[in-house]
């Protein structure tokens, strides 16, 4: 996500290098933590590693770690990369990414998805049963790794965020084929399903710098809130891409949300604002899609423009990004802050 999408100004390049070097250390942790004495397990873990694309959560752990410190030189000239990013940051980065990977593996079971990041999904290759247990293995390994830290606080944060994620998924499943889903419930789902773990990543980054007893610190709270808002924006953008993207641009099957009877913001907005006539026509196409007939999708996207629903969705995502960025006024000046602002913008400007 940083490479390509982000145009990194010169004064942030050293921070970018620090993140890149942190990523290498995260890779090593993955390699160590996910190795087992069983060849078939190792093979599947290797495959699932290609799910790691954006590394958004590790990036936020590392950047929030740097952004929490008021003692850094603005150009980071005097700070060694290793002193900026501690082993605890690396551990938490790997933990958050492993939890995320686990949810991707289980999501693919739920979504009956066949393609993820241009590769076959585990469930398509090995069946749902293996996917379920492989996801469990990733979760368990993440918790094991997290509890290698001296304090139980990070485990508490990760356990809690994971439990909240699950309630979000359960709420979403409960509302499948609920064609009257309202905005309030949609945001409840997003805050739980996506924002909780991204918020936790930022919180953990801050705590690894400030000390694990600093959960109530203004900086920790600001960064947790930043991550949470960013998570909502990220998921809204995901929902837009699922509707407007193609397999080629997004790298995974699209149109899955409607296929599985999941109403997302553009659709909710459209149904709430369309004339009765258009609303009925759209509802028919949506119900067809939920029953497996996707042929009406291009027409539906055309109808969405009648209510400017894609634009309204993008505005909504933008408002979350703006709120996230405003929270950064609470954290120390320094290179972390403009870098987090760049990330925030990139989250909704991405096309995959």
């Amino acid at each position: 996500m940083m490479q390509g999408v982000l145009d990194i100004p010169e004064e942030l390049q050293r921070l970018q290098e620090a993140v890149a070097s942190g990523f290498e250390r995260v890779e090593e942790v993955f390699a160590t933590q996910l190795v087992s004495d069983l060849a078939p397990v190792d093979q599947m873990c290797e495959h699932v590693e290609r799910y790691r694309g954006k590394m958004l959560r590790p990036m936020l752990v590392l950047l929030c770690g740097a952004a929490s410190r008021s003692d850094l030189d603005p150009m980071l000239r005097s700070d060694s990369l290793d002193s900026m990013i501690s082993d605890a940051h690396i551990t938490c980065s790997a933990v958050c990414e492993m939890v995320h990977m686990a949810t991707l593996v289980h999501d693919d079971v739920l979504d009956e998805a066949e393609i993820r990041r241009r590769g076959k999904t585990i469930n398509a290759m090995k069946g749902n049963e293996t996917s379920v247990i492989l996801g469990d293995y990733l979760i368990a390994s993440a918790y094991e790794l997290c509890s290698s830290l001296d304090s139980p606080i990070p485990s508490r944060i990760v356990g809690q965020a994971s439990a909240i994620m699950c309630t979000g998924e359960l709420l979403q499943l409960h509302n499948r084929n609920n064609f009257e889903l309202d905005e309030k419930t949609y945001f409840q789902i997003l805050e739980r399903k996506t924002a909780a773990l991204i918020g936790a990543s930022c919180e953990l980054g801050a705590l690894c710098s400030l000390g694990f007893d600093q959960q109530q610190n203004t900086i920790t709270q600001a960064l947790k809130g930043f991550g949470s808002d960013l998570g909502v924006a990220f998921q809204i953008q995901d929902d837009v891409l699922d509707l407007t993207g193609t397999l080629e641009t997004v790298g995974k099957s699209v149109g899955r949300d409607l296929d599985k009877g999941k109403l997302t913001f553009p659709i909710i907005h459209h149904l709430a604002n369309a004339s009765d006539e258009i609303r009925n026509e759209s509802l028919g196409l949506i119900q067809n899609a939920a029953q497996g007939d996707q042929s009406g999708l291009p027409k539906l996207i055309e109808l969405l423009s009648e209510t400017s629903s894609i634009a309204a969705t993008q505005q909504m995502a933008q408002s979350y990004v703006d709120r996230a960025k405003a929270r950064l006024n609470q954290i120390p000046e320094g290179p972390g802050r403009p870098m987090l602002e760049l990330i925030a913008d990139a989250v909704i400007n991405r096309t995959h």
Copy 2:
């Protein structure tokens, strides 16, 4: 399991009361931990609570907690129940049972089981997708609860045991329809899939009494080994019951192992010891069962008696129970020891 099956001698009755009172406190923790602000989530959690039948793992946490202490009065007259069982014991009891419940929910997805403890399974009622996430929710809640303790050590033990469990499940899945499965791999699967968490339950019980820094203590190690051996015996008995039991006696669908191409000890023993002729006949029936035709099952059980394979399996389970009990020589004299011996015997004498 204690009521009914066990004939508790008078000198152990006060310990039994302590466990019963501990169970009530575990129930309260369940009620608190699994409540959410979402009605549909709560409904499913309520249903899944009926999976809690034997409460073997909480019982072992509590009893190993008592058995680790050399300062208890043999009749427990002078010890208040609450002083014997700390909040940490209760927390660990609930955690181990929640992890176990999660694996049951996910196992039912793997096994496509429809009946568990005389009730419909979650997957039969709500579909595999909900089962996957509900299991995840139970695991996450278990970790969250475990990390409420002061030390990260219990989280480390639970995380590690869970990861090992998953590798056991993956190994088992990898060996589906492997009609040449050998004894060594069978025991590898059992030690990981079942024994790891039961061993961890006993270890946690000891550590809550002795202090979390006492992992290398002889008592802790002896009780962990006791639990691990008991776990293997327990799973062997489960495998026998799956073959010889009925839905009525066992309370869940039987014959599932063969149905899913899983070879268990009685079958492995039989195939290794039968004459070529009988071996071929049995193999045919086993392969039929793996393809959904269970009609040859009565005949197969008849053939098993030619090699005394059920008796050999029971002997194998007995040898694990004997080894488990021998380990108790390393722990303090007191009421905990004979009680653990009773439990050990009950594990292989049960019919459900």
